[in-house]
């Protein structure tokens, strides 16, 4: 077993109005019995990711190259960081970086850096364009979805879904389109930002419900806490949410984790169509959501359990979560010495 104190690297420090899950993951580790004294290394893509400057949470941050620069540049940077920090575990928290980390998993393991991530096959299985097939295999409902890469395909897809329709980016962002012109505009914007394909999805009116969950990679659900967003920003991000009690949602989560043999954190987004009393699976995100700390407050420390499993420990499933909890995000102006910004900008380390 690795000797304490451990050094854990975490990405996703962008605690902004479109937040990543790195800061809440670190907060969860800091509050755990097992990892409260761990050295936390932040891995940042941008110099203004707020987590870089949260020195009570993050011991040191290094910038890392964007996935578009290729795996070799990422592995070279991680090797440099490892030489200085002796990393024990890495916890990637962005959808877009996961393929690179997954491809590097065995090379990182050879360096002594553990992780718990899905395989590329599992990652792809839940991707937006493969979701209809997965839902069919698992016996879950999902809105009709069409994968489009060209304008002809876009027009055809919209003729199938009708209006309004959801136009979704490959990795992030979704917009409602009430006409072909709106759909075209969203198609151009999303394909320029996230690449093709873009997904056209049937619009379902209902209440969005979500689950933050953790699988052990052998089909067992280690933990799950369902919630409903109670305040949504104009960007569509949950700014407040409340824990709910929904057995059907939990059953769907168990089925997904069992059916995919999912290893690691995930977020399940579903819509409850109240009129027809039916749950639709909208998305499976391959990492913890930014609201994962709500699960910690309910007695399920998923990030701690993930790191323990990454280290090869057996973690028993959580059997209970506290109801009656909610979260509200807030904004807070941190005041940071300019030389800290200078150091992360010029040296890539802080």
């Amino acid at each position: 077993m690795t000797q304490e104190p451990l050094t854990i690297a975490v990405t996703g420090l962008n605690a902004t109005d479109n937040p990543g899950s790195g800061v809440p993951v670190i907060r969860a580790l800091r509050e755990s019995e097992r990892f409260r004294n761990a050295r936390i290394i932040g891995l940042a893509y941008e110099h203004l990711e707020p987590g870089i400057y949260m020195h009570d949470l993050v011991d040191k941050t290094y910038t890392i190259p964007y996935p578009s620069l290729g795996q070799e540049s990422l592995v070279a940077r991680l090797q440099y960081i490892h030489q200085h920090e002796h990393l024990n575990v890495v916890v990637p928290n962005y959808d877009a970086e996961l393929p690179s980390f997954i491809h590097l998993k065995s090379r990182l393991e050879a360096l002594g850096i553990a992780s718990l991530m899905p395989s590329i096959e599992q990652f792809e299985q839940r991707s937006k364009h493969n979701l209809p097939k997965l839902c069919k295999d698992l016996g879950l409902h999902t809105p009709q979805s069409e994968v489009v890469s060209t304008l002809a395909e876009l027009r055809h897809a919209l003729s199938l879904t009708g209006y309004p329709a959801m136009i979704k980016g490959k990795f992030y962002e979704a917009y409602i389109a009430r006409s072909y012109e709106e759909a075209l505009n969203h198609f151009y914007k999303l394909s320029a930002k996230w690449g093709i394909p873009v997904i056209v999805q049937q619009y379902i009116q209902g209440t969005e419900v979500n689950v933050t969950a953790l699988g052990d990679g052998k089909g067992q659900l280690i933990g799950a806490v369902p919630s409903r967003k109670t305040y949504i920003t104009p960007m569509g991000k949950g700014w407040a949410g409340v824990v709910i009690d929904d057995e059907e949602l939990m059953e769907a989560t168990r089925r997904i984790v069992e059916g995919t043999q999912w290893p690691g954190g995930l977020e399940i987004e579903m819509l409850r169509d109240v009129r027809h009393d039916r749950l639709y699976l909208i998305e499976i995100n391959p990492r913890f959501p930014a609201w994962v700390y709500l699960a910690v407050s309910c007695g399920q420390n998923h990030p701690e359990a993930l790191v323990r499993m990454a280290l090869g420990e057996e973690v028993p499933p959580f059997t209970h979560y506290d109801r009656g909890k909610m979260f509200i995000r807030h904004s807070w102006d941190m005041i940071c010495p300019l030389d800290e910004f200078e150091r992360i900008s010029t040296r890539g380390e802080l």
Binding site: T207, S227, R228, V242, V243, I244, D245, D277, R323, G324
Partner: protein, 88 residues
């Protein structure tokens, strides 16, 4: 007609209602708390009207109209089932 408060509904003494199945929350006044308590006790609508008339300064026709309106709100927000209704 017998009403049944859904199992997922919690009502606090201050009149805060929380539906644990959906995350919806509501507030009601003292009269609403009394009506919800009577529903919990399995009282018929006639009995609820009788109780409210006896305890508040109101006449039976007005009271019945107001109570039926309140109950229709409870149904609209999926907080109660009527006998034989089992929607979640």
């Amino acid at each position: 007609m017998t009403l049944k408060l859904k199992k997922s509904i919690a009502v606090s003494d201050s009149g805060f209602l929380f539906n644990a199945a959906t995350g919806d929350s509501f507030t009601t006044n003292e009269t609403g708390i009394d009506i919800l308590q009577l529903i919990k006790e399995g009282k018929e609508i006639d009995e609820i009207v009788e109780y409210i008339v006896a305890n508040y300064n109101t006449s039976p026709p007005n009271c019945e109209k107001d109570i039926l309106e309140f109950i229709s709100l409870l149904k609209q927000w999926h907080l109660v089932d009527t006998e034989g209704d089992s929607t979640p």
